[in-house]
Structures are given as structure tokens and as C-alpha cells.
Amino acid sequence: MRSRERFGYLLLAPALLVMGAFLLGPIAAAFVTSLHVDTPFAPRRFVGLENYALLLEDEAALGSLEFTLLFVVVSVALEVAGGLVVALVLDRWRRGQGLVRAAVLLPWAMPTVVAAVMWKYIFNDQYGLVNALMYGDALERYQAWLAHPLGARAAIILADVWKSTSFAALLILAGLQAVPRELLEAARADGAGPLRRLLWVRLPLIRPAILVAVLFRTIDALRVFDLVYVMTRGAPAGATDVLQFYGYQKMFPEQQFGYGAAVSVCVFLLALGLSLLAMRLVGTRSWAR
């Protein structure tokens, strides 16, 4: 037993080493950096939690926190709701099943940067598709969507929803296909209509899948960077600034590594907290039924 256990650890060792070197190491390093003032102009200096204290009074950082949270809530809600609908349709779709599923997954397979450039053009003020569809040849009525706080925010959320709904759909579809047919037939035999079967048989059974979709999307959405970097760079006037982009701005263009690291650590802690919360919800109540 003892040697078996040791062998188990031996097998785990490479994975743990890689995790340690590429995951825990950088996180620890970022945390250590966040406790310093680290600029190119002076030797690195330990300042304790000062960077975090400054962060709490930094209106730009708080503004980007606000939009990050708004982005997470709205885009995840739309993606999971949309994903559920898509999954329900795909679950019943028989003709050309493989092709249809591949088509639905296409946005997810596309690199985010490419998708972001595409959406930037779609919302372009001079020749964007949105303007062409809404106003046709009336060029003078064309709107600069990305110059309005609301328009820019909506554009970024829409781009994310377009891209990630299919991912949520995929997870939920897997859950749907695991629903035992007998249960649905039994419900039908008992006289339950389609709506009741959905609400009282399917939904409770796919709850874990939905929660997993919510969890994955939430963590991913919290780390949004590429859409903002390509589409708006935080404009107009910081309305679409998100935490990750703000941290990047502090670290790379401005060379404030300690301060930028503090932003990154906050994003990490937010994601960790949400994951733990979601793991509890998913892990204990539903999967251990």
C-alpha cells in the first residue's frame, strides 16, 4: 500500500511540477511583485499592501471593476440562456447533425482577436454592417457606435455573446443527452406536456451542466482582455475599460509593475472566489445527489 501510494505520487509529480512552475510560480511571483514599487527608475522597494490601498482610491481602476462585473453578469446570463435554447434545438435536430453542430461551434473555434477585429468592422462608423443594415444609403445618419459609452459596451458584450454562446450550448447539450429517455417517456405517459417535461424533468437533470457552463463562462469572462484591446482600448473615456486591460496598461505601457501586478492579483482572487463558490454549488448539492 505504501509503495503504491508512493508510486501514485511519482506519477503525479510531473503534472505537479508543471503546475507549480507554470501556474503557482507566476501567481506567487505576481503577488510578491504586487507588494513592491517596481519601476525602471529606482530599485524595487517593498511597500506592503500600499498598492492595494492606492487601488481602492483609483477611480479608473474602480470604473474598470464596475464594467468588468457588468460585462460578466450580462454576457454570462445571455450566453447561458442562449446556450440553453441552442442546446434544446440541437438535441432534437436530426438532419445533418454533425455539420450543424460544427457550424454552431464555429464562433468558439475562432481566435478571439480575429472575432474582435470582425466586430470592430461590423460596428465601424463609416462602412460597418450595422450602419448599412440600419440606415442603408443614408450615410449622414450613420452612427459611431463605438464612440458612445452604451454602444461600445453593448458591442463588446455582443461580441462575447456571439463567440461564447456556442460553448455554453455544447456543455448543456452534453447534459441534455445524458437525460434518460425513460424519464421523459414516463412523464409523457403521465400526461406531462412539452413545457412541463422541460421544466420538471429536463431542467432539474441538466442543472449541473448549466452550473458548469456558468462557472466556466464566469471565470473566462472575468479575464476578458482581447475584445477590449482590439475593439475599444477602454474608450470612450474609459467606459469599456476592464480590469485585465487596466492592469496591462499599468504594467506594460506605464512600466508600473507593482501596481499592475496588484490589479492582476485582484482579478485572480475574484476568479478564485467565484470558482470556489461555484464548485460548492455544483459539487455538493447537485453532483453528489
Partner: protein, 446 residues
Amino acid sequence: MAARAPGGLGTQPRRARSARGRAALWLAALAALASGAAGCGPGAEPPGVVTVRLVVWRPDIPEAWERALALFHARHPGIRVVRELGPSSSSELHALLTQKLRNRDRSVDAFIMDVVWAAELALAGWALPLDERLPPAERERFFPAAIEAVTVEGRLYGVPFNTDAGLLYYRKDLLAAAGLEPPETWPELVAHAEAARAAARAAGLPGAAGIYGYSGQFRQYEGLVCNMLEFIRSHGGRLTAPDEPPALAAVAFVRDRIIGGAAPRGALTWAEQESLEVFKSGGAVFLRSWPYAWAVLQDPAQSAVAGRVGIAPLPRFEGGPSTSCLGGWSFGIHRASRHPEQAWAVVRFLTSPEVQRLFAVLAGKAPARRALYADPEVLAANPHFAALRPVFERAVPRPRSPIYPQISYILQRYLHAALSDPASDLPALAQQARRRLERARARLGR
């Protein structure tokens, strides 16, 4: 990839030994590959040849670079220049270059630097002082502002390559049709733009309804700072004192009369490329841009308005000076370079009259050397340089500070907020920006 290899080991416990053997093979292969890659570097050179690595942006006219480097290699058989091409956007190139310099990356010997970077690169100890190499008598051959931009605390850290300054491009045909001259003042520009558009519509010019009055760079990025510096300074204001009345009035003018007035609101999302796109397709009466736009606008293959464009100094406000933002690039040498002498030979060559002439003729770059403004070849390709020399001579630098990127970001956010909301509370925003500027400066010392 790295995560997969050890995972493979773990999933095949019984064949662990052979897997380990395979891993060793892989490692050996990797090592061979790495040494091979190193072989392509300095090791692979013929003896006596030194490679100078130069970080520079991806050029829009590659031919000029190829010609210059061919010339250099022919004259300096002992030096090989390898360019590392970075993004053409100044801020993105800055992020890349500072990363390399911060890591003391030995593969960087020399680099191109934007006019606003010198203080940072010098104070961080990344750029090599060049005082002894470029004596004062030589410095006088360049525009003083360009030399001043690369001088930090009395020491020289770069040699100017080209100079840039904001210019006003206008549609000669549209102004002539309305019987107008190029505007002297900003309010005049707004009025001229309106009159020229009205005349174009009255004459039934095709697409006249879609012509804007003014095109410029108002996206939240570095160019916004340049554009607004020109408005604010030409009203007697200061960029770093945004809450003073002259600066406030200039910003209010842009917000009320330019954005959503002479220019569409979409200008808030335009950088150089978008603003030039609008103008060169015939979509605007006026364009504020840099000297490079001339070559593009005069090229019938790229421009629908070739031959119908005029150039003038930027307008001013009543009682203020016409102001152009100083731009331009210099070459510096990495302090950690192992080949400073060879790097200097490259920098000296690239900033020589010969190469500056080449870039002026082939790429429309305005030379940083003053004598070239009387050079027949340069003037034949760029006839407007003669009249615009005073503009280049007087161009106004952006704030000089080692934390310029922070200053710029604070200004960008303030200016974009001020311009994008027609009902913005300007004095409050400006005071907030000023407080942020002061806070950033106060923290520099720590």
C-alpha cells in the same frame, strides 16, 4: 505542449523506462535545435563580422529600408544589421521595446525611439549617452527641438532620424469652388468647412451630402494628445494645466464646434489611418495629419483626391500662435549592447544626410537635418517642405517626463471624456485630470 509531455509519461507507467528514454531523446533533439538556432545568430557569422540588432517598426515603405541597408552593408563589410520589426503603432512598439530593455535583452544593440521616450529610456539607464560621439557642432545640423527631445538632464541619448509635425491638408477644389482661402484660425476653419460643403451640395457634386468638414485623430490614444496639444497651445493654454481657462476654452471649442460639428462623432474613434481614409476618399474638406500623408494623398492609385490637395500650417485661435505637435523618431543605442561601436556606425549611417534624403524621397519622411530642406532632390519629391520648414522648426513637444506614458494616459482619458460627452462638466473633469497628473508626478520619486 509542456504540460503534455510529462502527462504522457504518467499515463504509461509500464513503459516508463522506454518513455523516459524517448524523453531523453526529445531533450537531446531540443538541445540540438537550440544550439542550431544559436548558430543562426552571432555564431554563424564569418569571422570578423559583427551583427548589430536593431529594433524598429515595420516600415510602410520597405524599399527605403532595403536600399539604405544594402548601402550600409556594401560600405561596412564587417557589420551586419539585423532588423527586428515591431508594431508600427508607437505605443505598441514602446511596450515591446521596454520589455526587452527591462530584461537586459542582449539581442538589442540599437533601437528607434519616439520623440517622447527619451526621458524614460535615459532615466531607466537603458540608453547609452552619445555626447562624445555627436559633438555640439554636429548637433547644430539638426532641428533644435529634435535634439532637445533626445537630451535628458544635459546628456544626449539619441540621434534624430526624421521629424514630424501636425499639418493642415485641404481640398483646393472645394475651397476654390466656394471662393475661399485656407483658414487662418480655427473658427474660420469651421466656417470655411460649412461654406465649402454648402457650395459642394449646391453644385450637385456627387456624394456631397456625405462630405464632412474636418477629419482628425480623436480616438483615445496617443494621437489625441497631439491633436489637442495643437488646439490648446494655439489658444495660449498648457496641456499639463488642463483646468486653466485658455485650455478649457480650447477643449470646449473642439467639443462643441469640431466633434459633432465640422467632424462627425465617429472622429472619436479615428486614428491616423481612419482619418486619412475619410479624406483620401473625398469625404472631408480638411484633414489634420502628419507629413507622411502627402505621399499617400498624391498617389492616384491610393487617393481619390490626388492633385486636389493643398497643405498649410495648422490654424490658430485669435491672438494665439499656430501650433504643430512635434513628432519624429531618433535612434538610440542599448547600454547593455556588446557592440556599441558597431551600433554607433549603424546609427550614424541611418541619421546621415544621405539616408535622410533617401527616406525623404522614397517615403516622404521629413528630415531632421535642416540642410536637407534646401536639397533639390528632397524638394523635387516634397515641394511643400520648403514652405513648411518654419512649421517643423517651431513644432511644440509634448510634456517631457520619464513617466510620459502615465501622463499621456491621464490626458487621453480626460480629453476623451471631455469630447465624447456634449454635456461634460469640463472644469470638474479638468481639475480631476490635473490632480491625477500631480499625483503621478509626486509618486515618481519613490
